[in-house]
């Protein structure tokens, strides 16, 4: 009876470190291209599905990619700002319905998306728990945010200052969590949604404070004349919005001048889309209109160009690793010369040792394959989250 597998197994178990190294080596080589493939396909799916469902995007002139990445995937790179005027222009054109986006601030690491309720209808986002936005200062959480921060309706979430050195006086806003969305398997899962007006509150453009004309404390007033009252820094602005103080919140200046990062334009039909695009061709325009699909297509082309380079690198690395493996086995054959002699002197063919080595390789390959399958399973199962982790945020 020949039981090469058993002996090979004992050999592998005895030389644990060597076997583990070999398995790791083989698995890595196999897992890398596979994982890369799965993740790229998933990122393509995520990027495209979102780009395809967002017909047009209006934003400041500049990097179209930054604009799309920020507006569609809530990337941290904030594009140049445009004003609410852009939203109104789209609306007044009668060619498309606008949805304003102000994706600039963060709350505990998650992007705050300032928009209107229309965004939820447009993206098909459903409230799973609680309710949708109603009052200024409220927020609705993407499912992943709620899960990660352990928040539920009734809790509060503090917005983060834009930078550590933010001295301009942007007070963090303690938002009321009023709802949690159903998972949408998109960037919306990691977003904190607020009404665009609430985003302006975070910025300090809309704010609430005591009525300066009724202030009794003289230390709050720096200067007072017939036309103007200047308050000192001691005047506290409200950092929470509640039933008592909501009445004191007010806009400064014309809301039309208020900032946005982009406006999603939903054209009535293809013809309207073309006409609307035509209106942004002019060189004097400080805004641009982009079709996210085209931008993402360009990005994907680049990604896949890089992927083909990585693929060839993997092939070379794989070959090198294969040669190393051959060397390892050749060396182990020499190390086992004595065993080979013993086996021969006991009365069996020198060829047996080759079979033992074959069995060893087979076992290593099988274990590696199992490992690769396990990793592949995990990667395929969590591809969505992984892509979001690595690619989008």
């Amino acid at each position: 009876m020949i039981d090469s597998v058993y002996i090979a197994w004992r050999y592998l178990v005895f030389n644990k470190a060597r076997s583990a190294t070999l398995v790791a080596c083989v698995s890595l080589i196999a897992v890398l291209p596979f994982t890369l493939d799965v993740l790229l396909n998933e990122s393509e799916r995520q990027l495209l599905s979102r780009a395809e469902t967002t017909p047009l995007l209006v934003g400041a002139k500049g990097s179209a990619l930054d604009l799309v990445m920020n507006s569609l995937y809530l990337d941290d790179q904030v594009p140049e700002l445009v004003s609410m005027q852009v939203n109104d222009e789209v609306s007044e054109s009668g060619l498309a319905n606008p949805i304003p986006l102000y994706v600039r601030f963060h709350a505990r690491g998650f992007p705050i998306v300032g928009t209107t309720l229309d965004y939820f209808d447009f993206r098909g986002l459903q409230v799973r728990e609680g309710r949708s936005l109603a009052l200024l200062g409220e927020c609705v959480l993407g499912s992943a945010v709620a899960e990660s921060l352990g928040l539920k309706p009734g809790d509060r979430l503090l917005s983060s200052p834009e930078t550590v050195f933010d001295l301009a006086g942007i007070y963090p806003l303690n938002m009321n969590v009023v709802g949690v969305l159903e998972p949408s398997h998109s960037a919306d899962d990691v977003a904190v949604f607020v009404d665009v007006k609430t985003a302006w509150v975070i910025e300090g453009l809309v704010h609430g404070h005591q009525d300066l004309l009724k202030v009794r404390d003289p230390t709050l007033i720096m200067e007072r004349n017939d036309q103007n009252v200047t308050a000192t820094a001691k005047l506290t602005q409200y950092t929470e919005i509640d039933e008592q103080n909501i009445g004191s919140f007010h806009f400064h200046g014309e809301p039309q001048a208020y900032p946005l990062t982009a406006v999603i334009a939903l054209p009535a039909d293809a013809k309207s889309a073309t006409i609307l695009r035509g209106r942004y061709v002019s060189a004097e325009k400080t805004t641009q209109i982009v079709e996210p699909n085209e931008v993402i297509d360009g990005l994907l082309r680049n990604i896949f160009r890089v992927k083909s380079i990585i693929d060839s690198v993997i092939v070379v690395v794989g070959l090198a690793a294969l040669l190393a493996l051959v060397l390892v086995f050749a060396l182990s054959l020499r190390l086992r010369q004595r065993e080979l002699n013993t086996v021969f002197r006991l009365g069996c063919s020198r060829y047996t040792i080759v079979r033992l080595l074959g069995a060893e390789i087979a076992i290593i390959l099988i274990i590696s394959a199992a490992l690769v399958a396990a990793v592949a399973g995990v990667v395929s199962h969590y591809d969505e989250q992984l892509v979001r982790l690595f690619l989008v945020n």
Partner: protein, 222 residues
């Protein structure tokens, strides 16, 4: 029963040659071979086992002309008929004591590993005081224990010929006695022929016959 007639052997390098005119060991006979190092004792054991092939002459074991067999047949003959206790044990580090004893059964189609064989191996090891070490690794054994494991492996297939090359070297007198007991017991139980190369003159009286290789061989050269 072992028989060597008009044998002449030379290593391919040509630096050593050996001639044996006539050498016989009957079934059940225990023969000790003594002589200085380099006199060709191990070479003769290898010739009997069919590990080495003579240029001329004949080696017969139980009527089988060993050097007339094909390579494959000779290997099968060796693993089934010859129990060889090597000078330096030649056990495999990565196998346990029991797996080393059963090793021949796993590397050739000529032997079959059955439950009976397994219990025989355990009984044999217990007989040689290795009962509590069956699952130990070889590296954890003392010299004496390794030697006993090597003997177990040699005796497992109940060979017709037992060849022992310095089987009792490096052992204390009590262990030497045990080893010899085990070898003799197997000879008596299965009518095997034992050829033991030894430097241990204290043990010689227990053998049926002692051959001083220096006097016995027909020719030797370097």
């Amino acid at each position: 029963m072992i028989q060597i007639e008009s044998l002449r052997f030379q290593y391919p390098s040509g630096d050593f040659h050996l001639g044996i005119a006539d050498f016989k060991v009957a079934s059940g006979e225990k023969v000790a071979v003594i002589g200085p190092s380099g006199s060709g004792k191990t070479t003769m054991l290898n010739l009997i086992a069919g590990i080495l092939i003579p240029e001329t002459g004949d080696v017969t074991v139980d009527g089988i002309h060993v050097n007339a067999l094909s390579d494959a047949k000779r290997r099968d003959f060796r693993i089934t008929n010859v129990g060889f206790v090597f000078q330096d044990f030649e056990l495999l580090d990565y196998l346990s004591v029991l797996d080393n004893i059963l090793h021949p059964y796993r590397i050739t189609g000529a032997l079959r590993l059955t439950d009976e064989i397994r219990s025989r191996a355990i009984a044999l090891a217990e007989g040689l005081g290795l009962g509590d070490k069956l699952n130990r690794n070889i590296t954890q054994l003392s010299q004496g224990e390794k030697q006993r494991a090597a003997i177990c492996r040699a005796l497992m297939a109940r060979p017709k010929v037992i060849l022992a090359d310095e089987a009792t070297g490096n052992l204390d007198p009590r262990n030497k006695g045990h080893i010899l007991d085990a070898l003799f017991e197997s000879v008596e139980a299965h009518g095997a022929s034992l050829v033991a190369v030894t430097h241990d003159h204290d043990l010689l009286p227990r053998f049926d016959r002692v051959i001083d290789f220096q006097d016995f061989r027909a020719e030797v050269g370097a």
